[in-house]
């Protein structure tokens, strides 16, 4: 029984934190917030060189071949530095989709590019309903191939020769697509038949395909770039299907569990950093002839924050470990971690802003980057209540 990190894992975290302290200070985050595309290219080049973008990509595809716990451990310092840009989209969402749903050819084409930072990926799942479920996928993909009626049932898309020949036309609007504007490939969910989770199909769509229109949706969290993506009669070949037609949710379920763990880890890092900033500030700010950290109200807030963060860290480690080693526990563990940390980060950073007093409320002070990222992390990919209900369902209450 060893519920701790290996020396390699501790080194990964330590070196990532040191690297980001130097290479992604708040000044960079602030600068990138108003840049054209929100991607600090030089930083991403270095991150790619460190192997971060391909951390969970198998070695034969040019990645580091590490696991979900390792990825979570890397997401923590990334969250601590509120690193902007498409790390989450590419290294987590798109990579997981390809790992769990991709054919050999698709993996061979895309994973090395993602790992090297030569291409970015983005996941286009949510629609107007903002419903994180199979039933939330309403946008249609219609078949074009020879001899197909094209409606109603899930289809293997196979011709009589057994080869997949169906081509597809995609129509609909996706919302809240992270990093669509810089993605080379969109991994988009469309309905090809059925209802609910059954009949959802994932497609690999080049961003520059005719009919794809990306419209920015500026976010209050300036470290993240969201977009509305309109698909107007976008034609894709059979080879664009990721996984089997109609079986896309199988892949998406794994992606969403991975997303939950990664965001929980980002939240843990952010919470710890906001907490550290607040405690440090309280050690220097003086009022009434003493440091404000000497007032019991402040001390108790700090104690409460620490008491929430430490157990949450252990739960996050468990979720990462379960994702690698306990497949039956992994979905529930992911939801526990996301529900816990979505809540903890938001509350911790709220207190951190209050502990800073008036200056914590300014644009000029950096803390608002964490404050807003906390809220995005909390609400995206299943909010606290959504994940709690999932825990209830998976625990069979």
């Amino acid at each position: 029984m060893d519920f701790g990190l290996s020396p390699d894992q501790e080194l990964l975290q330590r070196s990532a934190a040191e690297f980001l302290a130097a290479e992604c200070p708040p000044a960079l985050v602030r600068e990138v917030a108003t840049s054209e595309d929100g991607v600090p290219r030089a930083l991403y080049g270095k991150m790619a060189a460190l192997g971060w973008l391909g951390l969970i990509v198998p070695e034969k595809f040019g990645g580091a071949g590490l696991g979900m716990l390792d990825l979570a451990l890397l997401c923590e310092p990334i969250g601590a530095s509120v690193v902007p840009g498409p790390f989450f989209s590419s290294a987590v969402l798109a990579t997981l989709a390809l790992l769990h749903g991709g054919s050999a050819a698709q993996k061979t084409h895309w994973l090395p590019r993602l790992a090297a930072g030569d291409a970015f990926g983005a996941l286009a799942l949510l629609e107007e309903s903002d419903w994180l479920a199979g039933a939330g996928v309403v946008a249609r993909a219609r078949q074009r191939g020879a001899g197909k009626s094209g409606t109603g049932k899930s289809s293997s898309g196979k011709s009589s020769t057994g080869k997949s020949s169906t081509e597809w036309t995609l129509s609909g609007t996706k919302l809240f697509v992270l990093d669509a504007h810089v993605a080379d490939v969109l991994i988009a969910a469309f309905r090809t038949g059925g209802r609910g989770e059954d009949g959802v199909t994932l497609f690999l769509v080049p961003r520059d395909a005719p009919g794809v229109e990306v419209l920015p949706l500026p976010s209050v969290d300036v470290t993240r770039r969201l977009a509305e993506v309109r698909f107007t009669q976008v034609e894709v070949p059979a080879a664009a299907v990721l996984g089997a037609p109609g079986a896309g949710w199988r892949t998406l379920a794994r992606v969403l569990d991975g997303a939950a763990v990664a965001l929980a880890a980002d939240s843990l890092g952010g919470a710890q950093r906001a907490f550290d900033m607040a405690v440090a500030y309280c050690g220097v700010r003086q009022q009434f002839g003493r440091t404000i950290g000497s007032f019991q109200a402040i001390k108790h807030m700090a104690a409460e924050m620490a008491s929430e963060i430490e157990p949450a860290r252990a739960l996050l480690w468990y979720a990462g470990y379960a994702a690698d080693a306990l497949p039956r526990q992994a979905p529930r563990a992911a939801s526990m971690a996301k529900a816990c940390l979505g809540d903890v980060y938001s509350r911790v950073v709220n207190r951190a802003v209050q502990m800073h007093g008036g200056i914590g409320f300014t644009w000029e002070h950096d803390l608002h980057f964490w404050f807003k990222r906390a809220k995005w992390n909390e609400l995206a990919y299943g909010d606290v209540a959504w994940h709690r209900e999932r825990v209830a369902a998976l625990s069979k209450y």
């Binding site: 440091t291 019991q296 108790h300 008491s307 157990p311 709690r388």
Partner: protein, 400 residues
């Protein structure tokens, strides 16, 4: 990272489990003491600890020379977990095993160890803790019970309060003031006092639960032999703190928290709320899940501390948050049980339609006592912020 036990540890767990299955007496789950000092109940609990002792399962972490098995933290954790899972009765001699025993091992004389340790383990003698006083609760170092050294004896005068088990205890480990002129932490000594000594009187205090769970203890010219001093004269504060710092095995208590949660979940499935099972009500589900997440976070938090201990690492801030978080969590679990039960939640144990033998209102109250006892939540937050985070210590009063 690996959550599995080694084959040897798994085998140990199975042995413990089998032994407990064969030896745990049948009883009602979570039954609160009807009369805390009821002799028949005390006898029953002492017999249980004796059985546990004969089986070799009391204080297995103590060195062999003092009656333990010299086993490690992992084995101690396993035993604690299995005791809870088997719903074994409480250990009536827990004070001795967890507090005064380790103190004597570390600071006691050979004579003290020989005299007391075996009887602590077998529950032949029961111990109580003489710490708090009416004027010294959170500020324990302000204690005033005076022990005056006269020749070869201490003459003890004063009063202790919140003394659990005093009415059945054979011995008390007691913090007394031996030097009223020294700064308060430096004039305290740690004494072992025979509860049969003339001049000691015990008055039960009834808790809000209705049980006389603790007591006041009065000392009037009580003579205590000098050889009952543990550690050096006026070094009692350090002796007591070393015991408090002694590593408590957290995992036993997170198993208990999990059992409590399981109990509430069972309730939610069987009770109806507005015409359907409470466990189907979305608000109840949200609250259950929120608690479950806290329970599991504490479970893995404990595993992490266990791992740090196994790796020989010093406990960090994580160790400081245990008491604060666990006690409040247990109380919140009991609170949800009452919500799920609604009006049934307020029935006393004697009511004909009481559910679960009335354990839930009892637990709801008792767990509030645990938030206060052993260092209140507010004191824990002071400790966390000061010792854990390095924030400035509280300003003292003018006379401090």
């Amino acid at each position: 990272m690996d959550l599995s036990l080694s084959p040897a540890q798994e085998a140990f767990r199975l042995r413990v489990r089998a032994w407990l299955k064969a030896h745990v007496p049948r009883r009602e789950v979570g039954e609160p003491s009807r009369e805390h000092g009821d002799p028949s109940r005390v006898r029953w609990l002492k017999d249980w600890q004796r059985t546990l002792y004969d089986g070799g399962y009391v204080a297995i972490g103590w060195p062999r020379e003092f009656g333990g098995q010299g086993l490690g933290i992992m084995e101690q954790t396993i035993v604690n977990q299995e005791l809870v899972a088997a719903r074994a009765p409480q250990q009536i001699g827990a004070m001795g095993v967890l507090m005064v025993g380790p103190t004597l091992i570390q600071y006691g004389t050979d004579e003290q160890r020989a005299r007391h340790l075996p009887r602590i383990l077998s529950a032949e003698e029961i111990w109580c803790q003489g710490y708090s006083e009416p004027g010294a609760g959170s500020d324990l170092a302000a204690l005033k019970t005076r022990a005056e050294l006269v020749g070869d004896e201490f003459l003890v005068n004063g009063q202790k309060v919140w003394t659990s088990n005093a009415q059945i205890a054979d011995w008390m480990f007691c913090l007394v003031r031996t030097d009223p002129t020294a700064p308060k932490h430096r004039g305290i000594s740690y004494l072992l006092i025979d509860m049969q000594t003339p001049g000691i009187s015990v008055r039960p205090l009834v808790q809000m639960t209705g049980d006389a769970g603790f007591n006041e203890v009065f000392f009037e010219d009580v003579r205590v032999p000098r050889r009952n001093l543990v550690g050096e004269l006026n070094q009692g504060w350090q002796v007591a703190n070393a015991t408090l710092a002694h590593e408590r095995n957290m995992l036993g208590s997170t198993t208990r928290t999990q059992e409590m949660f399981n109990g509430v979940l069972r309730l939610a499935r069987t009770r109806q709320r507005c015409g359907r099972p409470a466990s189907e009500d979305s608000l109840v589900r949200q609250k259950l899940a929120a608690l479950q997440i806290r329970v599991e976070a504490m479970k893995y938090h404990s595993l992490r501390q266990l791992t740090d201990a196994l790796r020989g690492r010093r406990p960090g801030i994580g160790a400081s948050v245990n008491k604060l978080v666990s006690t409040e969590l247990n109380h919140d679990i009991a609170a949800l049980a009452l919500e799920v039960m609604g009006d049934f939640g307020m029935l006393a144990r004697t009511a004909g339609r009481v559910l679960d033998r009335g354990i839930w209102p009892y637990e709801f109250m008792f767990t509030l006592g645990l938030i206060i006892g052993g260092g209140t939540s507010q004191i824990q937050k002071n400790i966390i912020s000061e010792r854990g985070l390095g924030m400035p210590r509280e300003a003292k009063g003018a006379d401090q």
